[in-house]
């Protein structure tokens, strides 16, 4: 390779580097989630994590020259967190992934919970001039009878949202202040972990107060008493 060519390649590499200075900043949310300290409800709960939920990510495109695109992947952390929380809240939890797991269920399931992340917003100090990183999430939960879960030839499962007997939303919020030697990515991750913990605290304390859920729990209690 001639020195002219080498120089040209070096120049192109530098241009590529300069033009990609404000690339996408990516956060794969990771954290340690404690099990809830509560008396488990005497219920066998099925849980369906949709692909959208299990691979949940949030992408925000930069609007200014000094800003970066942000990609926040929360899917794995969501599944890990809700498995831990629900496992502590209910006597038995069955994860229903597909046709096979649906038909392998050996005990009667009282209901199936289907969580969704409806919205996720974040702010970093660059947006607000406040030295706080924030994450806000809105969840939607639907409870359906196990008979409302339909399986298909390709192994997938589905249900009709109209068949749910309880449908409720809850919000979660997490913030973390700026700290010395803490990167934006670390701070956004920490804010997401705080938001997940908040979601769990909200769910754990509000679940039995949702009117449709309270009626359903009462029905189960009455049925158990009659037996």
């Amino acid at each position: 390779m001639t020195s002219d060519r080498k120089g040209l390649l070096l120049l192109i590499s530098l241009l590529v580097l300069l033009s990609s200075g404000c690339g996408t900043r990516q956060v794969v949310v990771e954290g340690r989630f404690p099990s809830p300290l509560m008396e488990p409800l005497p219920i066998t709960l099925g849980v369906v994590y949709s692909d959208e939920f299990a691979n949940h990510e949030f992408y925000d495109e930069a609007v200014g020259r000094n800003e970066s695109d942000w990609l926040v992947r929360t899917g794995d952390a969501q599944v890990e967190f809700w498995n831990t929380l629900l496992g502590g809240m209910f006597e038995r939890v069955v994860i229903i992934k597909d046709h096979d797991t649906l038909h392998a269920i050996d005990a009667p399931i009282d209901a199936v919970l289907i969580p969704y992340v409806e919205d996720l917003q974040y702010t970093i100090p660059l947006h607000t001039n406040i030295k706080v990183y924030e994450i806000w999430m809105r969840y939607r939960f639907r409870l359906v009878d196990v008979s409302s879960i339909h399986d298909h030839d390709n192994g997938d499962i589905s249900y009709y949202p109209t068949e749910s007997f309880a449908d409720f939303q809850l919000s979660a919020y997490g913030k973390t202040p700026t700290a010395f030697l803490q990167s934006d990515e670390e701070a956004v991750n920490l804010a997401a972990v705080v938001a997940l913990r908040d979601a769990g605290a909200h769910f754990a304390t509000a679940f039995e107060r949702v009117p449709e859920v309270a009626t359903w729990l009462q029905t189960i209690e009455d049925k158990t008493r009659d037996q």
């Binding site: 404690p34 300290l37 706080v132 913990r197 908040d198 605290a201 304390t205």
Partner: protein, 215 residues
Amino acid sequence: MAVLISAIVVLTGCVNATVDEMTFLEPTEGIGDRSVVILGRRHAPDYETEFEFIECVGDHIRTGDPSITVIGERQFLDTLYPWFEPRTAPLRTEDIDTLLKEAPVAKELSALKLEYMVWIDGTTVETNSSGSMTCGVGPGGAGCFGFGTWGKASDYEATIWGLSDKAEVGRIAANTSGQSYMPAVVVPIPIIAPVQGTACDSLGDQLLKYLSAQY
């Protein structure tokens, strides 16, 4: 050279501190084999009590009287999850009864032999900053020139809850402020005012007086 380094190390700015204390039902023999947990309030939208500050106060008490069992905040929050999160944490002593109705919570608190819960609310903020500094690197070496100054203020209040009496048994407030300076003639010389550290020591000292039989 060693003298210069030592002088730089011991240079600290001045801090003004005010401590207010109001406590009652003081345990005259200390807390014995019972334990205490120090927790930060984090439900305000615009600030949150720093985890590091809570850790500092806890360490101050442990160092001052090693016989006192101070439960680590993060360990406590994880063990008692989800009852002490910003959304669910008890805000008044009346909430203790509601919390103890949860059998696993009552059992865990009993296993921890928890006697006192200390809630610390507050934060440290930068109040002002001015000056400028320029640093450069050349073939002959590197150096800085200029002057910077910044002020900080800490404002913390500790509320002590006695779990046996299910009542508030004391309040201690510590307000500190100070100005830090950084003159630079080739080498920057930081003269830092330990504002938050002084607030931590002030609160820690008062809590030690309350909890320990040795003070």
